[in-house]
Amino acid sequence: MGQNNEKNLGWAPFVIGFILAFCVGWIFFGKHFAVPPLYGKLHQPVLFSHEVHTESAGMTCEDCHYLEPNGTWSGIPRLDKCIECHEEPQGETKAEIEFIKNYVEPRKEIPWLIYSRQPKNVFFSHAAHLKIARFECKVCHKDLGYNDKPPVYVYSRLSKYPQNYVIVMEDCMRCHKKFDAPNYCFTCHK
């Protein structure tokens, strides 16, 4: 019962409890630290540098990522695209050698980790966003196309979905509202 005369800890237990839970929540369930149990980190199978390709090699985004004539998006190029140039190693960097050894020679498709992977039941039209809205890639993909070293891939162990760089429904709808683009169920869901 309440009327014990031992020394009362006052607010201390509350504060301790608060801070403890607060930190646990942020460390283990916040994306930024991405430590288990909920989140995991992965690295791209190949140390790919957009910077090298765009600046040194002087390629443009459209060389690899483009709109098919039927309006679908090419997405990430398949291995044969890489092989066009990387049949022979370009330079002696460790990454390059690795890449040739592991993928080009055995002709094995690269299991890229896709930062902006959406659930399979979501429809997204690159065509509309590029040709009608005239968005630049970075509007959605942020700096992904410019970095020299692929950023770490943070994903949720439960739903297996990527967490950093991913666009969620709220973002889509906000933007669609802003530009009063259609915002109906079937606009994105299928």
Binding site: L67, G71, T72, A127, A128, K131, F179, C185, F186, H189
Partner: protein, 254 residues
């Protein structure tokens, strides 16, 4: 910046009942296109998932005067879609191209829309979706499979619109040509009894067809304003499409 394409689109379906032989190709094509599950026993027609149903009606005359007609019934995509009004979770809405669109993962299966829809166009997933072993390889990636416990219905093959539009955009257009976007059932129909197109485009086939004196819609008196029109030159067929109070009906005809 305003990215909404300026042109008006409202897609409607016109079904010529006199041309429909009830062969059922549309139903199969629909099922194949829209990843419709199939159970080993589907003889309970009130619990069988179909986006497109064919009703068989007869003129009630004894042979040899008997006449049979078939009424293929997709979702009516009503302009006054009661299902949209009543859905408590905004899981369904009226699209800008006239399609009553829907988010399956949003729906929590209260079935209020089913109670509301007089066309029985909405069906419920009573069981987990199953596909005959092996045939999941034949599923269409443009349409998501629906989990148990949600309401689903015909979407006018909206994914085909998305594809057609993407193609148009790639070719630098925003307006689709007539026939560029048609539903799977219209595509399959051997007698081409199903027409589909943009009614706002005055040159489209459907725009002309709906003006036909024989064009009508199901249960118009209920005031749901369906987007699916039917054509039949047979009086008895038209009579069965809606309720008539004899005397009122007679007056209308005199």
């Amino acid at each position: 910046m305003h990215v909404e394409s300026s042109h008006a689109e409202k897609y409607v379906m016109v079904i010529d009942i006199d041309k429909c032989t009830g062969c059922g190709a549309c139903v199969i094509a629909c099922s194949q296109e829209n990843n419709i599950p199939v159970r080993t026993d589907e003889t309970d027609k009130y619990r069988s998932i179909n986006w497109l149903v064919i009703y068989r009606i007869t003129n009630g005359e004894p042979p040899p005067k008997t006449k049979v007609a078939y009424i293929p019934r997709p979702c009516m995509h009503c302009d006054h879609a009661i299902c949209v009004h009543v859905c408590p979770a905004q899981a369904t809405d009226k699209d800008r191209i006239g399609v009553v669109s829907q988010i399956y993962p949003r729906c929590f299966g209260c079935r209020y829309c089913m109670a509301a829809c007089p066309y029985h166009a909405r069906v419920f997933g009573w069981w987990d979706p199953v596909f005959p072993k092996g045939t999941e390889r034949g599923l269409n990636p443009d349409v998501s499979t629906r989990m148990r416990g949600v309401v689903e219905k015909c979407s006018f093959c909206h994914h085909r619109y998305q594809k057609a539009r993407d193609k148009a955009i790639a070719e630098g257009r925003v307006i689709l040509k007539d026939g560029e976007y048609i539903t799977a059932c219209a595509e399959a129909c051997p007698t081409k009894a199903i027409y589909f197109g943009n009614i706002k485009d005055p040159n489209s086939k459907v725009a002309k067809l709906v003006k036909s004196p024989f064009a009508f819609r199901l249960l118009e008196k209920f005031g749901t304003e369906p987007s699916v029109y039917y054509i039949s030159r047979q009086e008895w067929v038209r009579r069965q499409a809606d309720y008539y109070l004899e005397e009122i009906h007679k007056k209308a005809h005199e």
